[in-house]
């Protein structure tokens, strides 16, 4: 991990008067086991500019923030601050360099007052100078147009106010660069608007802001410069003058094109997978509604024929997870009916629906799909605990369990040191193969795939796509939830677009699908 970095060339001999980026990344690469999080990304950050980073989950945005805030080191490439190559190996070092980070989740102590939170990190022997801090806070706040009560308990503040506190704290520590990692993800639209204005004022004061989001409208409203990341690569950058000249509508098209791949509509990207007569649907969802504090679902209708793949597109966090969990039985339905081959499912629990042949391949593979410390063999049977022939009269039958595991490892080509290896020692691609083995073996009739290639390397992703295709070819009904438009266009027969907990459109997968989906997803056609 700590391999010495290549000796960096001397800083460019440029006169100080000439404007230059505060921070520049030069071909930075960062690998994680089984994944390339950042692939030779070059990125400049200019003072007084709001630089928006756009991209789906797994595009590498968070890794880039982690590199700049000292949480990770690049495997290759260099980071320059003010033209000097630096090594940001701790968060403290990042602060020293003037890089302040506001993470998605508040890093303040809720039980302490605002001013005490500011005082954290001071010398432990000295009594915090609360009055002085409060004065300086008021000063900084006045400059950027916010007022915060220094005596207020952080726990009593709204999320937006907490972010203001964090921004002020970063400024008090002398930050010239502020990284906002998905700062608006948890805010109300109003709060997000306020934050946008604040960011604008910061930029006017000459501070460089990195603003990470996956909401297009925000990016256009706030950003001066927009960089789009995709699967760890920088796929495009829109400079300030171009952004201004494009105008919102053209910019949206441009960004959608960058985020979701080529707009080369003339080339047949993915012809309809195969012609078919319309057989009666196998999996029918009618009027599905789910209560959820973040994204409630309402009025979702979907019918999937045997052998059909229905894709569901949409930006992350528009209710895809809630939908999958509701269908699989992990969430209560507020309303709606689910039938599989004529059998009503909505009153059955997870196990009951599974026995009817409904399978759910979760995208949260380590969080809920598996138990990391348990051996692979048991993880392959996690949804069948107590079932014969693996358990007989409640007693474990190790030979049957081992034989089952060996069979699936062989059939799905899971690379593992052994069937008794804890599953968290496997690479991401192999964990996914194990999950696919668990969900697709046996009497599956309808399968929900949630982002089946998320976080996988190319080869594993290809294998996972192949499994999705084969599942449909075996006459099963398939729902494919994905944020990767290329993947949806490659695999699906029809593609629905989900936005804010509703299905806002359904598109047959023909030549015009890409542009129509782009329009639906960016809200232009909605």
């Amino acid at each position: 991990m700590n391999q010495p970095r290549a000796a960096s060339p001397p800083p460019p001999a440029s006169p100080l008067s000439e404007p230059r980026p505060v921070i520049s990344l030069d071909s930075v690469t960062r690998r994680f086991p089984g994944a390339l999080a950042l692939d030779r990304v070059t990125f400049d950050l200019w003072p007084g500019e709001v630089h928006v980073l756009l991209g789906e989950n797994g595009a590498g945005k968070s890794t880039l923030v982690a590199l700049l805030s000292g949480l990770h080191q690049p495997d290759a490439g260099s980071i320059r601050v003010d033209g000097r190559a630096v090594r940001i190996d701790t968060p403290a070092r990042a602060l020293d360099l003037g890089i302040g980070t506001v993470f998605q989740h508040s890093m303040l102590v809720p039980s302490l007052s605002v001013v005490d939170n500011m005082a954290l990190g001071g010398a432990w022997w000295a009594r915090p100078d609360r009055a002085g801090l409060a004065r300086r806070m008021a000063l900084v706040g006045a400059e950027i147009g916010i007022t915060i009560d220094p005596a207020a308990k952080v726990g009593a503040l709204s999320l937006g106010e907490r972010q203001q506190v964090e921004i002020v704290r970063a400024l008090l520590r002398g930050s010239r660069v502020i990284l906002l990692d998905e700062a608006t993800a948890m805010l109300t639209p109003q709060g997000a608007g306020k934050l946008g204005e604040l960011v604008g004022r910061l930029a006017k004061r000459g501070i460089a802001v990195v603003f990470i989001t996956h909401k297009l409208d925000e990016a256009l409203a706030i950003g001066h410069r927009i960089t789009v990341l995709r699967l760890g690569r920088k796929v495009g950058e829109i400079a300030p003058d171009r952004l201004a000249s494009l105008g919102p509508a053209a910019a949206t098209t441009e960004i959608v094109r960058l985020m979701f791949g080529s707009d080369d509509l003339t080339a047949p990207t993915a012809a309809p997978r195969r012609d078919r007569m319309a057989p009666p649907p196998l999996l029918v969802i009618e009027g599905l509604a789910v209560d959820d504090p973040v994204v409630p679902l309402a009025g979702i209708d979907l019918a999937v024929a045997p052998g059909e793949i229905v894709g569901i597109a949409g930006m992350d966090g528009n209710g895809q997870k809630q939908f999958a969990e509701a269908v699989a039985g992990q969430r209560r339905l507020a309303a709606g009916r689910i039938t599989l081959g004529g059998t009503s499912l909505e009153r059955l629990d997870v196990g009951g629906r599974r026995r009817q042949g409904l399978r759910y391949v979760t995208d949260d593979r380590l969080g809920e799909g598996t138990i990391g410390s348990f051996p692979l063999s048991l993880n392959l049977l996690l949804k069948d605990v107590g079932e014969p022939p693996f358990w007989q009269g409640g007693l474990e039958r190790p030979e049957a369990i081992a034989a089952h595991a060996r069979r699936l490892v062989e059939a799905y080509d899971v690379r593992t040191p052994g069937i008794s290896a804890p599953i968290d020692t496997l690479s991401g691609g192999n964990v996914q193969k194990a999950l696919l083995a668990r969900e697709l073996s046996g009497a599956a009739r309808a399968v929900i795939f949630a982002k089946p290639t998320n976080g996988l390397d190319l080869q594993s992703a290809r294998a996972a796509r192949q499994h999705v295709r084969e599942t449909a070819n075996q006459g099963r009904a398939v729902i494919l939830l994905s944020t990767d438009l290329d993947e949806l266009l490659e695999l699906s027969d029809r593609i629905a677009v989900m936005s804010r907990g509703r299905i806002v459109g359904m598109v047959a997968n023909d030549e015009a699908a890409r542009s129509r989906l782009g329009a639906l997803m960016s809200g232009v056609a909605a």
């Binding site: 969080g367 799909g369 949804k383 605990v385 690379r415």
Partner: protein
């Protein structure tokens, strides 16, 4: 933190040494089984990892004794002589093991299910009081065997009942069981006292205590010794618990809930029901321990009696990493220390609870050993 909490069972399949994060494909490509050299080193490491901390704890405790002005060799000598070598001492050690093993079995069920049942003392004491009140009332009317059976069942039932409030709050409201079990434990201890003084006190004495079960009516002793048959119950319970937790579907379900509650929901397990079941079993075993202590050893409950066995056993169960067989070893070691320590305390003037100090130091030493081991392994990688 070290992963001292990770149950032993879950890593039984790991190779004894060697990097476990080696990319799988590499391992297969090389086709190398773990080398002999590695196995030898693994054994050395295991010996170092268990014996080292024990020696270290004895040494540090010895230094503490020196600081108190007590000859550590004499103290340890008394402990060994009174807890292990002397026949009466050894029998007392075995008798105490019975009660402690039942508590350990109860704790293992809860801890493996990821439920921190810290309310064992309340469950234990309430059961003890209920049994002490019930058994002398039944003796005139029932054969002794039936009285004992009724006492054991009542103890288990009372223990389980006292755990239901935290169990239901945890299962259906998600309220942290550490807080609720501790609170109900304090309530249970106080309630037990009140019951002894107000409801169940023996009118024949002025001392506030329950009626005393005649020695002839207590749990049978084993093979003409003074060892109570509670030892067999304890050994049986902990072995059964170990096998149930490691070899059955029910045990696996509890472990799934304990290891990753979200995975349990994803897999469709009835998490609230399993939570209540784990609590009930855990507390029933603790209640059984209370019954065994009364029916086999004490015969009655005096007001303000609280041996705090459950809180004492918790570190032992952690040391054993929730493994039933390892727990037998640690409970034995602790019983020797505590029986021997009682008489060593009388002779050397060291407070009785010095044995707890030794256990605490041992726990810290094991934590340190595990930390060093982990660092060593990371460094080698």
């Amino acid at each position: 933190m070290t992963d001292i909490r990770r149950p032993d069972h879950e890593r039984r399949h790991e190779p004894p040494s060697g990097p476990t994060t080696t990319p799988a494909s590499e391992d297969q490509a090389a086709g190398n089984p773990p080398g002999r050299r590695g196995t030898g080193r693994a054994w050395t490491r295991l010996a170092l990892m268990t014996l080292g901390p024990v020696m270290g704890a004895l040494l540090l405790s010895g230094l503490l004794l020196l600081a108190l002005g007590v000859d550590p060799i004499a103290y340890y000598g008394f402990v060994l002589e009174r807890g292990l070598i002397n026949a009466y001492g050894l029998q007392a050690t075995f008798t105490r093991m019975g009660t402690l093993l039942l508590i350990a079995a109860g704790l293992i069920v809860a801890f493996r299910a990821g439920l921190w049942n810290l309310g064992g003392d309340g469950q234990f004491l309430l059961s003890a009081v209920a049994v002490a009140a019930l058994a002398p009332l039944l003796t005139p009317h029932l054969p002794i065997a039936l009285v004992l059976l009724a006492g054991l069942l009542a103890g288990a039932a009372v223990g389980a009942a006292w755990s239901m409030l935290p169990a239901l709050l945890k299962a259906y409201q998600g309220i942290n069981e550490v807080i609720t079990t501790l609170m109900t434990s304090f309530l249970g201890i106080s309630l037990a006292n009140v019951l002894v003084k107000l409801a169940f006190h023996d009118p024949a004495t002025t001392v506030p205590q329950t009626r005393t079960l005649a020695v002839a009516d207590r749990l049978p002793r084993l093979f003409g010794t003074t060892v109570s048959s509670g030892l067999l119950l304890g050994l049986g319970a902990i072995i059964v618990v170990h096998l149930v937790m490691t070899r059955t579907a029910f045990g696996l379900k509890l472990r799934v809930v304990g290891a990753n509650p979200r995975a349990a929901i994803h897999a469709g397990l009835p998490v609230p029901m399993l939570t209540v079941a784990a609590f009930a079993i855990s507390a029933a075993l603790t209640g059984l321990a209370g019954a065994v202590e009364i029916l086999g050893v004490q015969g009655n409950v005096r007001a303000d009696w609280n041996p705090a066995y459950s809180l004492t056993v918790i570190p032992l169960v952690f040391l054993a990493r929730f493994n039933g067989f390892a727990a037998i070893g640690f409970v034995f070691l602790f019983s020797v220390l505590s029986i021997g320590g009682e008489s060593a305390a009388r002779r050397t003037g060291v407070p009785n609870f010095f044995t707890l100090v030794v256990v605490a130091i041992l726990l810290v030493m094991l934590g340190i050993a595990e930390y060093l081991d982990k660092r060593h392994r990371t460094a080698r990688r």
